[in-house]
Amino acid sequence: MRYDDKVAVDGLTLTVERGSITAVLGPNGAGKTTTLETCEGFRKPQSGEVRVLGLDPITQRHDLLPRIGVMLQSGGAWSGVTAVEMLRHIAALHSSPLPVEMLVERLGLGDCGRTPYRRLSGGQQQRLGLAMAVVGRPELVFVDEPTAGMDPAARRTTWELLQELKADGVTIVLTTHYMDEAERLADQVHVIDHGRLIASGSPFELTRAKGHATIRLVVTEPFPPDAPLSLARTLGPDTEVITVNDYSLLITGPADHSTLAKVSAWCEEQGVLPESLSLGQRTLEDVFLQLTGRELLP
């Protein structure tokens, strides 16, 4: 998938299991939305093949659209309609929509009142977008950054709704750049960066590392420049040390009972004072950092 000569999504292969929640995770500009829009039939891939529910999103659009629900990243209503009017409108385009009142109540859209769409808050617009995506009782919903701009309560409500959809047999594909969202919701996570798939698996598979440890070290003063190298040498050949920032390192590698002791001995030797030193399972955030050398959220 190209825009002019910039490749937005390149050789991405992923499949989604029915009745599961799949998260497409990546930083801004990774190609998440482009991937979704290609599945929704808004964009035609220059090469490759896309099948959604066995249908071609471009040539079989007419058969596909009634069966899927789409939540756009932003916008998606007349500027002058109220949230409830808009939801009613989308509902009326489907054959057996969900009761509008139920969704209004579940997603707290009642508090939008008579306010026209253009004056709703970002969070209210997001909740309406989600309601419009599910109101037609779709088999499959695509949600693009469902909780961006939502307050914590609305995020929780959204997560509960998505989990309930899944429990009732709806397949969900969501994009997000929130790790906690992917870890909490997704059965399957695809990490993409620069339009390429860099890792796939369940959150557990991605974060588990047998015989490996993930150690975070935060110190009170900036590390000397060669710190990552010297620490890696101290810990052995297979150890990887990533600079998170001037004060913080992330260490992964084979671990045994002496690993933590070695790290603290190294600190003493370097004359840096650890502020925190922790050993634990890595998070999806760490996975991303290890795969790309960059942090997910700027």
Binding site: R67, G75, G76, A77, L93, S95, D168
Partner: protein, 255 residues
């Protein structure tokens, strides 16, 4: 076992989708204050003002002023709805992602277009009732056949202006569309032989017959003054309709 969200997907029948779409579009056209000003208030002012002004000014009219001006104001009303209002509304629909949202719904493009056209025609009927009522109150004596002929004329006129309106809305940004649609409307209202017949424009009159505004005005005046379907302006409108539809289909950007 079935839960609240158990899938039961499907599109509503096309007819009912189009009905839903039409009623929403028409409601939104009538709800907006500026649109209402454009649709009813300005045409009525033009009619009343024109009739009063014609007592003091010479517009070189061959008939009673109210008989010439009422069909001209009909033409103005059709132009304001099918060009200016449509363009502005569609421009903001693009801006707020509504078209994209509907593009992901079961509503097919043909349903979207049908909804828009039917909403325009519905608003135009209301406009014609109001303007016709004001005209009659001012002593308008139309040829009765005009009420039949207005149907084909309004249809091709709407098609001509709607194609152009969608072209503007589909290529410019929403604000630019707002400005351009209003500007073109004002220019055509003043200089396009809509309200006043071409004979009032002296030497320019002949050229104005080729504008959609002049053609629509001519056709409606023939219909209500003489009870005649004037084929030349109808042909001009058809050419504009085909050209506008081609431009809109070719250049319309959905986002």
């Amino acid at each position: 076992m079935s839960g609240t969200f158990t899938p039961a997907p499907g599109a509503a029948p096309l007819v009912s989708q189009v009905r839903t779409q039409t009623s929403m579009e028409a409601r939104l056209l009538l709800r907006n204050g500026e649109q209402l000003l454009l649709a009813v208030v300005i045409p009525v002012i033009a009619l009343v003002g024109g009739v009063i002004a014609s007592r003091h000014l010479d517009f070189s009219l061959a008939h009673r002023p109210v008989d010439v001006l009422t069909p001209g104001v009909f033409a103005l009303a059709i132009m304001s709805t099918s060009f200016t209002s449509l363009a502005i509304a569609t421009g903001f629909e693009r801006r707020y992602g509504l078209l994209k949202r509907l593009g992901a719904s079961p509503l097919p493009r043909i349903g979207l277009l049908a909804g828009k056209v039917l909403a325009l025609l519905f608003v135009e009927v209301l406009q014609l009732i109001v303007i016709g009522g004001v005209g009659l109150a001012l002593g308008w004596e139309p040829d009765a056949l005009g009420f039949l002929l207005v149907i084909p004329v309004a249809l091709v006129g709407t098609a001509a202006f709607a194609g152009l309106g969608l072209f503007v809305a589909g290529t410019l940004r929403a604000e630019a569309t707002l400005a351009a649609a209003n500007l073109i409307y004002l220019l055509l209202m003043a200089g396009g032989a809509v309200v006043l017949p071409r004979s009032s424009y002296g030497g320019f009159g002949a050229a104005l017959r080729l504008l959609p505004s002049g053609a629509l005005g001519d056709a409606l005046r023939s219909a209500f003054l003489d009870g005649r379907l004037d084929l030349v302006p109808m042909l001009v409108l058809i050419v504009w309709a085909v050209g506008g539809a081609w431009l809109a289909a070719r250049y319309f950007k959905w986002e």
